[in-house]
Amino acid sequence: MNLSPRIFIITVLMICLGAVPLIADGIDEPFYTVLFSRMLILSIGAVSLNLILGFGGMVSFGHAVYLGIGSYVVGIGTFHAVEDGVDWMANGFIHMAIAVAVSALAGLIIGAISLRTRGVYFIMITLAFAQMFYFVAVGNEKYGGDDGLSLYMRSDFAGLIDLSIDNSLYYLNFAFLLLSLYLCHRLTNSRFGMTLRGTKSNEQRMESIGFPVFRYRLVAFVIAGAICGLAGVLSANQTDFVSPAVMHWTRSGDLIIMVVLGGLGTLFGPVIGAVAFLLLEEFLSGITEYWQLFFGPMLVLVVIFARGGIDGMLVGLDRWWQNYFLKKKAEEN
């Protein structure tokens, strides 16, 4: 049994991600820990989006809403903890619980309305709802409005883990990424996941077999929202800052790009996509101030020519590798 190059590359990527703080400390560039920390958080968001976009076929253009909800839970919590001395509001466990609950509720409401529609309507409606939440945050003067809210402390995990150390936060992010990947793996291979994938390929057929398609989709929508809300909590702690920009509609677009760039409907695709996206951004913006001038057309080209994303290319590599070995074996015989 030969190790396939795809599995090899993905394993190396995950190990490298796990080792980033050690390497960054080793070469004395703690900046990289922060950069890769952002990748991990956005990976979690992308993994959750992939659950509905890749496996469920629902093109949600408002997924950054949950990043915003999670971020604002931390922002508002620590704001009251610092300003009014309400200690429990700084507790990280409570932040996470509330973020998951509120995101799930928001997902339930948005999903219940928008899943009544199909295709392009669905895209526009999820986008419109995201914009609505964005404007609510902009209009909310008490918590900074348009300017946002600086965090004077990070979520407090009662001495269990100290988030003010960047490396601890990194490993918390990493742990949650692994957790969300595990969850996604279990979910998509369960009966529920199979049904969801079935609704993607043929909705009418699933409906006539007797599956309540709407309910399955809604549950997936809510789960994806809840996971992404958690990513929002981590994101606020990472940036020490919360503003409506977290849920700007372009952020939702970025999440979709990560999922598609990495590989739609694959387990590790979103992680690969998030890493590639941020590395590309880092690299291009280092070359020119006008980096989006190149990034935009690149996106168009990826859409037109590289259909399976990076993971699709790895699958192609696997095939080539297999053929190569078969040929070699045939020659030996």
């Binding site: 093109v59 392009v120 309507y121 598609v260 935009g296 996106l299 168009v300």
Partner: protein
């Protein structure tokens, strides 16, 4: 209740609705006929404003500038369609969203490169910069009246074009059954290009008319694009009539809601609460409206026939 303010805001809402209609008409046609979801429609609006700003500077006249910018926008749209969007018609909506999202990034950066990061102001001609007396001594800015007039004129011309001419007949046929139209020997690619050019010109027109009352800046098309989506969803994708009705409703509710919601809320809760809650709630109004309409009619108010 302040009646003069209400009248003024009603007119403002009407004017905003007209701008929305110009954008929505093109977008809904492009979607209805080519099945293309075009996020870059907001960029066409932005380009319209920038073209108008440049041509106004060259010719020293807003009118001449606008007249030059209109064909420029149409040409720009046609080139965009031929180069980039043509290949997307047969693709999934997800691919279209991604590719046109990439185009937005490109155009924003392109504008920043050419015109610089600072917003531009277009000076209005003397004739239009004042205000006119409507009746009972109520004055209203002349330019906003011009926007309303131009918008109604365009809506009327569009109605004539779509329902009375051969091209319009093909457009309607294309919206209800594309394969059949091409099977009957109509050059569907040419039709697509014409429709896209028309949509681009309408979006550009909206942009250049909005330019003097709002600042011309990068990303100006994005906020209004999302409201345009709301309009299309409410009106029914592919329906120009739906776009017109929904645009006026959305424009009215958004504008009037913003200025009167604090007062209306103040009737029910204390003024302090009303003042803090009103900005957030008023920006939610159109989305709530959309959710309500979708709950009753998932296809919008005027769903296209034959689907």
């Amino acid at each position: 209740m302040n009646w003069i303010l209400l009248l003024e805001q009603t007119l403002n809402g009407f004017q905003f609705g007209i701008l929305l209609f110009l954008l929505a008409a093109g977008l809904t046609l492009i979607f209805g006929i080519m099945d293309l979801i075009n996020l870059a429609h907001g960029s066409l609006y932005m380009m319209g404003a920038y073209f108008a700003a440049t041509f106004t500077e060259w010719t020293d006249s807003f009118l001449l500038g606008a007249l030059l910018a209109l064909p420029a926008c149409m040409l720009f749209g046609v080139i965009l369609e031929r180069i980039a969007l043509k290949t997307l018609y047969t693709r999934s909506h997800l691919d279209q969203v991604l590719a046109t999202f990439g185009l937005i990034l490109f155009f924003n950066e392109f504008v920043r490169l050419i015109w610089g990061p600072i917003g531009l102001d277009i000076p209005l001609p003397e004739l239009l910069s004042g205000s006119v007396e409507l009746f009972f001594g109520i004055r209203y800015p002349a330019f906003r009246l011009v926007i309303i007039a131009v918008g109604i004129l365009v809506a009327f011309l569009l109605y004539l074009l779509v329902s009375k001419t051969r091209i319009g007949m093909l457009i309607r046929a294309g919206a209800s059954n594309r394969q059949m139209v091409s099977a009957l020997g109509v050059n569907i690619n040419l039709l697509y290009t014409i429709v896209f050019g028309l949509g681009a010109a309408l979006a550009g027109l909206a942009g250049m008319m909005a330019a003097p009352i709002m600042t011309v800046e990068i990303g100006m098309g994005e906020g209004i694009l999302i409201i345009t989506f709301v309009v299309i969803v409410i009106g029914g994708v592919g329906s120009i009539k739906g776009a017109f009705v929904a645009a006026l409703i959305v424009g009215f509710i958004d504008t009037v809601g913003r200025s009167f919601l604090p007062d209306i809320l103040g009737l029910f809760v204390s003024n302090d609460v009303a003042d803090t809650a009103a900005p957030a709630i008023s920006s939610m109004l159109i989305y709530i409206l959309m959710a309500l309409i979708l709950a009753i009619k998932p296809q919008g108010l005027f769903p296209p026939k034959g689907t």
